[in-house]
Symmetry: C2
Subunit: 301 residues, 2 copies
């Protein structure tokens, strides 16, 4: 089924203990689309300025990503982010950020994308996520991401959003902040009580947790990785693998959702193994499926 | 098969956000034995002073724990520990500790325990763990625990111990410290390189990880718990469920070890649900087996 993503396109500079990647392609919609395209065609909505040095048509060539929703604003500048990961690879510091075009009006969802059935609203102001979602006629399954600043400063909008989506995909620290509860099982329940039917809490190297409003739970470790080069984009790749698999299968029953979580987990494991998009562009659906079998083997008892 | 444990018996005072439990029974050998006894007879070796207010014969009545190795020293005082858990239930502060009898010579392994096939050496000075192990004639599978102070101050003894045991069961922070490596997969490999054939890294609410020297890996989330009352003894209960299941099955192939990790995980989930031993004494093998099926259901995909 059709899969729409709205999110950022960024010029990233990333420092990790393994090296530096300067002015490389990043952004939530980019990682999501590359990840999801292993499973399903992707409809891309995002905006850059005239300074964007990347040719997205070339980058996504042969990958089944429809860039009709890519808007290039001649008077604007592209979103830039620079960050440094600490030695533990868990924590990071934002060294520099220019919202640029992301601080302007969001792009429009093209007419031919408005019948999309699966929708991922990558992290941005919840009011903008709502505005983007309202342009889609009758989505079957909508997932969204959010982050600490929206929880702190735009909680009302975020709660309105939660009543309109099917699934929130969120980091553990942000889940605790949103829920006001340290225990993650109870935090998940508190978030479900805000109106979404499903919540997925990402725990980095400790895997993820999915809880549904009808009381179902799924917990999965991360794919065991002995080498983490650059965690940037892991969360959006996880969401891409998850939503891509759902759109491919066309189902959202809990068994399918569990397999989708496993695909999200495995897809993210490729992202973190190299800088920028290199981990994703260097793999294939066959390799992803091999890791799914490996993940099943190392977690089954 | 026969299962021997050597470890501490303590008078604990525990504060958590849920309340205070003063002068309750604790200690590694106590938690381990109560947990392991659901699976296998346990041979107990430990020492208390004359001040010990607990009748262990009564506490373990009907539980298949052989207390022949319990030594009561009339001139000594029992080990005491007081600790406070922080609001997140992950971190704790030691408020007070008296080693007392634990600072003296260790107890002897009784003659009739020296043919034990499965042995767990709970946390103490590695030189004492070696001394205790040398009293066992021909063990089939030996596991040990350790902690930060031995890694820092007695690393030589600890490395000697690692060459003599089959399995180290260790917390993630201590694994990182011992291995000098943050990534847990690589940390596990570094520890295996020190001579033990198997390492299990416990990650609290994020589950655990088992790696073998022949390259096998198993990762398992914790049992999803919405209520953690008192984490004291969780690690020793995990070890008890793990070793108890191995002793019961009499096997140590990797498939059996994986199931044993699951039993350790589930047994610990009962411990943390109440103060002191109440979580363990209030359950049964039938309830443990039900949680094994539940854990399988919430982790399989």
């Amino acid at each position: 089924m059709s899969l729409l993503v709205t999110g950022s396109i960024g010029i990233d500079t990333v420092k990790t203990p393994h090296g530096v990647s300067e002015n490389c392609l990043g952004g939530s919609a980019i990682y999501f689309s590359m990840a999801a395209s292993f499973f399903s065609p992707v409809r891309f909505v995002g905006v850059v300025g005239a300074d964007c040095p990347f040719d997205l048509n070339e980058i996504f060539a042969g990958r089944n990503v429809d860039l009709t929703g890519l808007e290039i604003r001649q008077q604007s500048k592209t979103f830039r982010w620079a960050g440094s990961y600490h030695a533990n690879m868990d924590d990071r510091t934002t060294d520099h950020m220019e919202l640029n075009v992301l601080a302007e009006a969001p792009p429009k969802v093209p007419e031919q994308f408005r019948d999309s059935r699966f929708v991922f609203l990558a992290n941005t102001a919840p009011a903008l996520q709502i505005e983007l979602l309202e342009q889609v006629k009758k989505p079957a399954f909508v997932a969204a991401d959010t982050m600490n600043c929206w929880i702190t400063d735009h909680l009302g909008d975020l709660k309105t959003l939660l009543e309109r989506i099917d699934c929130l995909i969120i980091n553990e620290d942000e889940a605790r902040m949103l829920a006001g509860e340290h225990n993650l099982i109870r935090a998940a329940q508190n978030i479900l009580d805000m109106g979404t039917a499903l919540v997925i809490i990402k725990k980095g190297e400790s895997g993820s947790l999915m809880c549904s409003a009808d009381g179902q739970i799924f917990v999965l470790p991360a794919f065991p990785a002995s080498e983490v080069i650059d965690p940037t984009g892991a969360g959006d790749s996880y969401a891409g693998g998850f939503m891509g698999y759902l759109a491919q299968s066309g189902r959202t029953d809990f068994e399918t959702l569990k397999t989708a979580v496993a695909y999200g987990t495995v897809t993210a494991s490729f992202t973190i193994a190299d800088f920028s998009l290199n981990g994703l562009t260097g793999t294939s659906r066959v390799e992803i499926d091999k890791r799914i079998e490996r993940l099943r083997a190392v977690t089954a008892f």
